[in-house]
Structures are given as C-alpha cells and as structure tokens.
C-alpha cells in the first residue's frame, strides 16, 4: 500500500486515470511506503519543469521532467517493491490468470511481455501483474499486484486496436524507453487483487519481427535457470528461493515463445489453459 502526496496537477490527472478503479485508503491506515512526487528546481533555466520521486525520503533516481512524471513514478514504485518486498520471491515478469491458474510471462524489458500480457487480457485472462511476479515462498502462490500495464512504442497502437474500450492513457514521449503509455488495469483485476493464483505455466516470450510464432517446450532445468536469471532477490532469499523456484518449475511446464504477431502468441498461451484446464477452487489469500 502506497500513501502518495503530490502538488503536481498534471501528474494527479495521469495517475487518477491509470488508477481509476483502485480504492482510496483511509488516512488512518498504515502504508508500506510514503511516496512524494514533488517539484524539483531546474538545474538549467532552459530545461523543462522538473520533479522528484521520494519514497520514505529516499530518491532512487535523479530528477525528471514533470511532463512524464507518471512513468517515472511507476519506475519508482517498482524500485520500492523489488528493493524491500523480500517476503516474496520476485521475478521480472507479467502474470495472468485463468480459472485459478497463472501463466508467468518472464523476461527482461523489451522482450514483449507487457504486450503479450495486454493481449491476454482481451482473451478473458485476469491481470495479476505486468512488471513483477510476487511468489509467496511458503504457500507457493502468486500474489496479485495489478498495476497499470506499461505499453511501449508500437505496442500502444497495437493494443489500442484489440481493446474494446479506451483504457490507455496519454502517450508520454520521449522517455528513457521511448514512447510509453499506461494501460489501466481492468476493474475486475483490481476487485480481485486479494485473490492469489497457483503457478501453472512459465513462458519466456521474445518478440522479433521475423520470428516464427511458436511455443517451444523447455527442459525444466533450463526453465529453472532462465527464471532464476529473471529473479530480483534470488541471492537475498538463498535456500528459500531455490526451494520455492524448484516447486514452481516442478509443477509448471516451461516454454519459450518467440513471436512476431502478439495475437497469435496470445492464442497459443490461451490454448495451454484449454489443454490443461483447472480443477482447483479459487485460493483465498486471507
């Protein structure tokens, strides 16, 4: 839970669009992080108006243009989570769920996981997270953190065509990752953000314009090592991480997914759920 303070009107507007369906907490509730997005002085007169991100008084990066404050705040939120949430094993991954079973779409920035994640939402999958898989090592569950999906460059228009309603905010450009827009999480994903899911598939998407789109089964040991490389806090959790990751891999088939067309890639992942339907009842995080 974040407590956010900011006097920057354009940021408030962008933030309220992206987080429109989230409940606001009472002032008396305890928050995990106290965030401030505040105006910062220009170092040079000709530079754009600047802002700063502070989490409990600490700033993970330099000042940034106020005009693109939301993407920077999202990176700041990410920093808070992967720096402090060591009660979870954290993978660089999107996670989507259908009938209680989750597909971990793991990969580094630029692999196409956010685009694939957004395309999965158009096929009835629930968004657990776009940026992180949060694995509870004790229970083996994936915890939802359904924040906005960060669409970049060509994927913005691509996903806009697939979605039935306009849930994509304004385009921020330039950012350090090119053009960027936030896809507002579906209301259903927000309503069910206390409902975890069991890991069922591990998929490593890789987008390339000339790729042949196919699901390629991966040996489990190779899947383990690939997922370990996408883990933010494997070293910090040590033996606990090894055991938890081993359980995920033992029960989840692993695939590489090179793709050129995101809709074809999403159809292949969708097909996994059809071939291996769920029998489990929804998990109760409480």
């Amino acid at each position: 839970m974040f407590r956010l303070h900011t006097p920057i009107g354009s940021f408030v507007e962008d933030f309220c669009f992206a987080y429109a369906d989230f409940p606001a907490c009472d002032e008396s509730e305890v928050s995990d992080f106290r965030i401030r997005v505040t105006p910062a002085p220009r170092r040079r007169p000709w530079r754009e108006a600047q802002a700063r991100f502070l989490a409990d008084g600490r700033s993970p990066f330099e000042t940034f243009s106020r005009r693109i404050a939301l993407p920077w705040a999202e990176w700041g939120f990410n920093w808070c989570i992967y720096s402090y949430a060591h009660q979870f094993l954290i993978f660089h991954s999107a996670v989507v769920e259908k009938a209680g079973r989750a597909a971990i779409l793991a990969g580094p920035s630029g692999s196409g996981k956010s685009t694939l994640c957004a395309a999965m939402l158009t096929r009835g999958w629930r968004l657990l997270s776009d940026e992180f898989a949060l694995l509870d090592p004790a229970r083996g569950w994936l915890l939802p953190i359904p924040r906005p999906v960060a669409l970049k460059n060509g994927s913005i228009e691509l996903i806009a065509k697939l979605l039935p309603d306009p849930r994509i905010g304004r385009v921020f450009a330039p950012t350090r990752k090119g053009r960027l827009a936030q896809l507002r999480p579906p209301a259903d994903a927000v309503e069910r953000q206390a409902e975890p899911a069991e890991p069922a598939w591990v998929v490593f998407p890789t987008h390339a314009d000339d790729a042949r789109t196919e699901l390629v089964p991966l040996r489990k040991a190779a899947g383990f090592l690939r997922l370990e490389r996408n883990c933010f806090n494997y070293a910090a959790l040590g033996r606990t991480a090894f055991e938890a990751l081993g359980k995920v891999i033992a029960t989840s088939p692993c695939y590489e997914l090179p793709f050129a067309e995101v809709e074809a890639a999403a159809a292949l992942v969708d097909r996994l759920a059809e071939l291996q339907p769920a029998a489990a009842a929804p998990l109760d995080a409480a």
Partner: protein
C-alpha cells in the same frame, strides 16, 4: 593439487586426496529428468549438473572418497568400465567441484 603440477603432465597430486562435501555446505538438490540443480548455501550459487556430475557429487556427499574410488563407484553405478571415456574426465570434474567450493579435502 597445484595447476603447475598438472600442466607439467605428471600424475595429479590430489589423486590421493580424499574429497568430501563439507557439512557446512548442506547442499540442496532438485532433480529434473536426468539433470541436477544443486544449491550451495555456502556460496549462494546454484549449479546445473549433468547426470554423471550430479551422481559424482551426490556420491561424495554420501561418503568421502579419493578420485580413483569415486571412479570405481561411478563405474559400478553406471555399469561401465573404469577406463571408459566418460569416467576419464572425473579428475577434471573433481577439480572443478573444488574450485566451485562444492567439495574440500577431507580432514578426517
């Protein structure tokens, strides 16, 4: 064994060394098909081993042995000759285990 002695082509001087997995390592294992993943809490590293390497390390974890004894055990386990090509690399494998901190000379 020193690298120098090995480079000169003499018999590896640790051939008589008895190797063991230190108790402090308390290795964690995962076996997927014929592949082994082993986590060494002492180093924080996870290692990926093939069938022969995995069984060699498990053997040393069960009971300390010098290299020739390890070769004999693996020959029995896999029902192959002690001088078979796949066992000729055991000495090098033992050195790699040592360099990775997975095993150490037994002090017993």
């Amino acid at each position: 064994m020193s690298d120098g002695a090995y480079a000169l082509g003499g018999a590896p001087d640790h051939y008589g060394t008895v190797w063991m997995v230190p108790l402090a390592n308390a290795l964690e294992w995962r076996v997927f098909d014929d592949e082994f993943l082993v986590y060494n809490p002492a180093s924080g590293q996870t290692h990926h081993l093939n069938l022969l390497a995995g069984e060699a390390l498990r053997s040393l974890e069960t009971e300390a042995a010098h290299t020739q004894e390890l070769i004999r055990r693996l020959a029995d386990q896999f029902e192959i000759a002690e001088d078979s090509p796949s066992l000729q690399m055991i000495d090098r494998l033992v050195r790699e285990f040592d360099e990775l901190g997975l095993i150490a000379p037994s002090t017993a």
